[in-house]
Amino acid sequence: MTEVLLLGRRAVREVVRYPEATIPTLFIPLFFLAVNIGQVSKTFPSSTTPFLNGQGYVAFQLPVSLMFAVATATSGLALVTEIDNGYFDKLLVAPIRRSSLIFGRLTADLVRGIAASAFVLVAGIALGARIQSGVAGALVIVLLSALFGVAYAGFGILIALRTRNVQATNTSFLLFFPLLFLTPNFVPFDRLSPLMETLARINPVSYVIVGLRSLVIDGWDAGKIGAAVLVIAAMGTVLTALSLRAIATYDR
């Protein structure tokens, strides 16, 4: 446990000292939030759009921006850079469990995820969103978003360990775009075309967005929140397990 904390603290330090790596990951979600609201809010006025439950469109878009803010390849990139410059070997030759290297990174992802989602949430509130589930709901939103970021980080880590290639790891982030857009990101499920609805209902990320959105717009909906938690837990378990296997068999 100590080694996980030591490595986690170092990874957090890395994030703090490389703001140039974090700023773009915060700019993108805010950019999409502003652009999407600007383009669509006249189409969906709060007074005549039932799915907004009386709020502005910003409330509907906020969860999508939260996803953008936390789904980064930062950990994977840091790891592949470390593999590249030889520091990774130094860590592998230390008498620690290899899994600590993964859990250390994920610890930093949790910390960064909390900071990033809190930042985006505050921006959303400043743009007029109200959190129907209250302060406790806002905390749950931040925590679930951060945990989704931790689960998603497994992608980058896995690709870093399997390819040991900076470019491949960098572009792993692009995998997220289809996953994020094949969702009810602009309108609810029932407003999508039949094909899009089918794809969105298959896509697990949809349920994370729907769960977070329910906390913003509807209040507490155990079913939707439960589904989001389930998806995050399943995704986190699978990707972390694959990463652990990848590091256990690294050069073995």
Partner: protein, 327 residues
């Protein structure tokens, strides 16, 4: 496995594409030795070190470090060894102090003990003044020294140094040598790879020469040189015809062989100094005018040449020039 610090029997590592990086080598390093593993680039030095450090499993054969099997007892070996790999493994974002304190933590040294050990090591490698700067601002020599310090946090019993002085200026090289001697005097066995013959000669108790995955010579530097059983008289040609010159000296008493070098010929003879008058006489008789005549006792380079048919120093120098050009 024997009780030595390092032992390898028929150790082998193949890579994809039929590359035989290390081909069934035997090694035996006694506790307290500084053992030099000498060879050109791509000879298999780093692959051997990685296998001994438990970073890479052998394809075949066995190896033990500190009496423990590299495959079975990897975790226990990692607790006892210190490693500074050829690729300097430093995290550019951390300061020297942070890096060493983290390294202490990974070896179970925490709190005040970690802080004082870090301070001690920073002093030892002369980085106390730069301790709070990020390592990316360090020079090549400083990085090497910090890397060395980070391999020492837990006072390892066996220290692996993979080309610890490659790319360093002569002054930094001397500092590292002093450090290695001091660590060794403290009781640690040192296994160091190098492509510098001078380093192996000056620093190591025993040397093995590896070429193309095979160990081609092994012994103390003195033994290896003595086994050569010859001196070398180098005749710098400065315009003289190499074939004519070699022909003129073909009857030189005690001549073992002649090796062509750039604008020179190296004559391997039983007694270098004693053959000079005869060389001068023979050249004079044929009217051949040459530049300088230089007598040298055998060096490890000659040992390498005899074992492999190539000179190591030239390869090393060429590589350094390429690296300098690349920078």
């Amino acid at each position: 496995m024997n009780g030595g610090a390092i032992a390898a029997v028929s150790l082998r590592r193949d890579f994809k594409g039929g590359i035989e990086a290390v081909r069934d080598i035997d090694l035996s390093v006694s506790a307290g030795e500084i053992f030099g593993f000498l060879g050109p680039n791509g000879a298999g030095k780093t692959t051997t070190v990685r296998m001994l450090c438990t970073l890479l499993p052998p394809t075949a054969g066995t190896a033990s470090v500190a009496g423990l099997d590299v495959v079975r007892d990897g975790a226990e070996i990692r607790r006892r060894i210190g490693v500074a790999l050829q690729e300097i493994g430093l995290d550019p974002v951390q300061t020297g102090r942070e890096l060493l304190e983290l390294q202490c933590g990974l070896y179970g040294i925490t709190g005040q003990r970690a802080r004082s050990r870090t301070e001690e090591l920073l002093e030892l490698v002369g980085l106390a003044d730069a301790a709070d700067r990020r390592t990316k601002t360090y020079s090549g020599g400083m990085k090497r020294r910090l890397d060395l310090a980070s391999a020492l946090v837990h006072s390892p019993t066996v220290l692996f140094l993979d080309e610890p002085t490659t790319g360093l200026d002569p002054a930094s090289r001397l500092t590292v040598w002093e450090e290695v001697r001091r660590i060794n005097a403290g009781g640690a066995t040192v296994f160091l790879t190098t492509q510098y013959l001078e380093e192996a000669d000056k620093l190591c108790d025993r040397v093995a020469i590896i070429d193309d995955g095979l160990i081609v010579a092994e012994g103390t530097p003195e033994q290896l040189k003595a086994e050569m059983g010859h001196d070398v008289v180098s005749v710098s040609l400065e315009g003289a015809d190499p074939e004519e010159t070699a022909f003129a000296l073909a009857g030189l008493p005690g001549l073992q062989r002649v090796v062509a070098e750039p604008d020179a010929l190296a004559f391997y003879v039983d007694d270098g100094a004693g053959s000079i008058p005869e060389i001068v006489r023979l050249l004079d008789r044929e009217g051949i005018r040459v530049g300088a005549l230089t007598v040298s006792r055998p060096t490890l380079d000659d040992v390498f040449l005899k074992a492999t048919g190539r000179r190591l120093e030239e390869e090393g120098q060429e590589r350094e020039l390429e690296e300098a050009a690349a920078r």
